[in-house]
């Protein structure tokens, strides 16, 4: 057993209101520089939808992640032979248009426009070319736009849905959608790291944050095509790739990452998971049906004395172990089994987990009378407006079981709390539902607490990072003592 710690995340989709505050917080801190205008390290997508960049989930097109061949996983995007034959051209990359061409507005035109019959407008100007442009798409172009025949109907997660289900999903006045905020998943088996020919990408040993060394990057852009979530971006100005850094300067100083901190719906949770690094390869090679369970088995119980002992042996500080014991992520993923990894079939084993969303019951109001399609108070699980197959494609690796379990437990907790606080539903029914959902009353209370009443400290259990010790493990801090004057010293620079 090789115990390591990872700062992991849970996004509770049932709470996401799609306000994009997270995206803006990230943008303002990290990607407001030249060359990064089009990047959204954090973005919020509307599902069903094609997302950003368009159709990023279609790995037939983008060739991201791993595929299993001859019993062993390989990168889809590249290989020893392919890297030679494609040395001058990496074909499977999103173009600027697949993201969107970033723009601002020529506000001066409001003042300078010649007199005419219309109101003057601020004309959009490309932030790349500086020329007037006709906006064709944006980073959230299909925002709140379920049913769009261009975007929503081409969502790759609709695969396996019957024609009837599709029609039902996109029927006028019955449209349903939910939000899907995304950042870098800081995967356990990151394809971007594996693909980089320059060795510029690495996963930090002490906290599992995947970073991209700006000095080592040689602009191969292998990572851009290898990452199945398309969360590595190429900065056309610096000629280096960039990605979400999980705000490590903030996390190291005990602050939540900007997108977490700013989240209005409080959907984001952050905490340490202990995992067994020895078994990563084994688990990433498992058959698809076993992968979610496999990844859960990698996550170790921070209360287990044996795990604690092994963690200590690996130099994990007691305070980090304690932090792992308090981790909300551990509860959501491992204890309550509510949170699921997105697209486990890419086999990168993302360490950002999603609680799948419940959809409201369809109802119409006619003369003060509320007519519901369903008799159920909350989300119909088996006859849901968002088909289970769709959610399963997104969060279950195509298997509905894990998604059903998570939805059923959430629904049971809602019924239980409804029985307790409002009292218009039968307490016994609620308790029966809890039992059926593999949940106890205590657990339901805890889920309710951490879902609805959670405080800042409960959502973000940020471990002490001991960055100084991590550095000392790699190099002697006294090695450069009184050494100034020889060699090269690059001065501090702002930003990345």
């Amino acid at each position: 057993m090789n115990v390591r710690s990872q700062v992991s995340m849970v996004f509770h989709l049932d709470k996401c209101i799609g306000c994009h505050t997270c995206s803006l917080a990230c943008k303002n801190i990290w990607t407001d520089r030249k060359g990064t205008e089009y990047m959204w390290w954090n973005n919020v997508e509307t599902k069903p939808g094609t997302g950003y960049p368009a159709l990023w989930e279609d790995q037939e097109k983008f060739r991201g992640g791993w595929e299993k061949k001859n019993g062993h996983i390989r990168l889809r995007s590249t290989g020893k032979a392919r890297i030679v034959t494609n040395i001058f051209h990496n074909p499977h990359m999103p173009s600027m248009d697949d993201y969107y061409e970033p723009w601002t507005y020529d506000y001066q035109h409001l003042f300078n426009a010649p007199e005419g019959p219309d109101q003057p407008t601020a004309i959009p100007v490309s932030m790349v070319t500086g020329e007037y442009l006709n906006i064709e798409s944006g980073p959230n172009w299909d925002d709140d736009l379920s049913g769009s025949p261009v975007y929503a109907e081409n969502d790759p997660n609709l695969e396996g849905l019957s024609e009837e289900q599709r029609q039902q999903l996109f029927a006028i006045e019955q449209l349903v959608f939910f939000y899907f905020p995304r950042i870098c998943n800081h995967c356990l088996n990151p394809a971007c790291v594996a693909s980089c020919p320059s060795g510029a990408l690495y996963k930090r040993g002490e906290d599992g944050i995947v970073l991209l060394d700006q000095k080592r990057c040689r602009a191969w852009r292998s990572c851009v095509s290898a990452c199945p979530y398309k969360k590595v971006f190429y900065n056309w100005f610096t000629g280096k790739s960039e990605k979400c850094i999980l705000c490590y300067p903030r996390v190291e100083t005990g602050q939540a990452p900007a997108c977490f901190h700013s989240c209005v719906g409080r959907i984001r949770y952050l905490g340490v998971l202990l995992y067994d690094a020895d078994r990563i390869e084994e688990v990433s090679n498992l058959p698809m049906e076993e992968m979610i369970e496999g990844q859960r088995s990698l996550i170790l119980d921070p209360f287990d004395p044996h795990v604690i002992e092994e963690a200590r042996k690996n130099g994990i500080h007691d305070s980090v172990i304690q932090s792992a014991q308090n981790s909300p992520v551990y509860k959501f993923v491992k204890v309550w089994r509510l949170a699921l990894p997105p697209h486990i079939e890419y086999r990168t084993m993302p360490m950002l987990f999603y609680v799948p969303p419940l959809a409201p019951v369809m109802s119409t109001r006619q003369n003060e009378v509320l007519n519901s399609v369903s008799k159920d108070l909350f989300h119909d699980i088996d006859d849901a407006r968002v088909p289970l197959k769709f959610l399963a494609n997104l969060f279950g690796g195509g298997q509905e079981g894990k998604v059903v379990y998570a939805l059923r437990k959430q629904k049971a907790v809602r019924w239980y709390r409804r029985a307790l606080t409002v009292g218009d539903v039968d307490r016994e029914t609620a308790e029966r539902m809890l039992r059926e959902a593999d949940c106890t009353a205590e657990e339901a209370e805890m889920i309710y607490q951490l879902t609805s009443l959670c405080t800042f400290e409960q959502r973000f259990v940020i471990p002490p990072m001991y960055r100084e010790e991590a550095i000392e493990a790699m190099r002697d801090p006294l090695e450069a003592k009184q050494g100034a004057g020889f060699g090269f010293l690059s001065g501090p620079r702002r930003g990345l």
Binding site: L55, K61, D98, N154
Partner: protein, 322 residues
Amino acid sequence: MELWLSMKKNQVDIPAFKRDYITMLNEDSKRRNPGIKRILPQALLWIAAAALVITLCPRIAAAQETAAFFKQNCASCHTIGGGRLTGPDLKDVTKRQDRAWLRDFIMNPQAKINAGDPYAVKLHEEARGVLMPSIPGMTAEKADFLLDLVEAESALPESQFKGLQISNEPFTPEDIQRGIALFTGHQRLKNGGPACISCHTIPGLGGLGGGQLGPDLTRVYERLQGRTARQCMALSPRHADHAVHSCAMPPLDPAEIHALVALFEDTAKNGRILPNVAVLNFSLLGLGGAVLVLVLFDLIWRARFRSVRRNLVQDNQLRGLP
């Protein structure tokens, strides 16, 4: 010494037979080490001989060295009895000018011309403004050696620095054909090296013309004043331009020079016309080939990855939906 001392000290005690023996020993040693007076004349003779050799040797060596020096530094512009190249023929130059003047001129030609010396200015004009370079490391002594060499060579009926001469016989068509073959590289140069066409052009030879590195040789015959030694020297690899641009160019064979001069003469007399059709054909072929290659690439990689979002929108428009 010890023997002598002991002899003196113990003179009284030494028995007679022993004294005789000592005397005999002394006599013997005198015979074996003759006195300095006897060997001095002989030694002086030897020393004188050695001194002579030491002083003469450099003179002999210098004579050979000077010839080599002339070949290396002077022969590209001067002949001795072979006519004018860039510089004048040096045959009997010592009779035309006095030695002191010549020595000064060799050591610093620029100074002489700048000083307005009428003879130097005249030479400068005759060479069509080409200034004789001052040779690095030139000394008065070296200049004297050179003048000695020129004097000696002038006296000979045929100097080794006469340079290659072309007979005044008219060139045969075979000569011209051979010149063309050599120029275009259809016939290899005997001593190796690239064909003329790789750096020079004569319109009409080689379809697309030759290289642009060296000068155009169309009018070389007129430029270099006909069948002069200059013409031949220009063809020799020791010619300054060849030495600079194609360091590895080995010397041409006299027969090859003959053929090439024949070509140059023919070019000068009859002229050659650039066949425009060949150039047009080649350009069209290149253009067509490039287009063909692009079309081929497009066919081979027709399933390549293109824009994603734009295709989505286009597919949708094809379906006739909004």
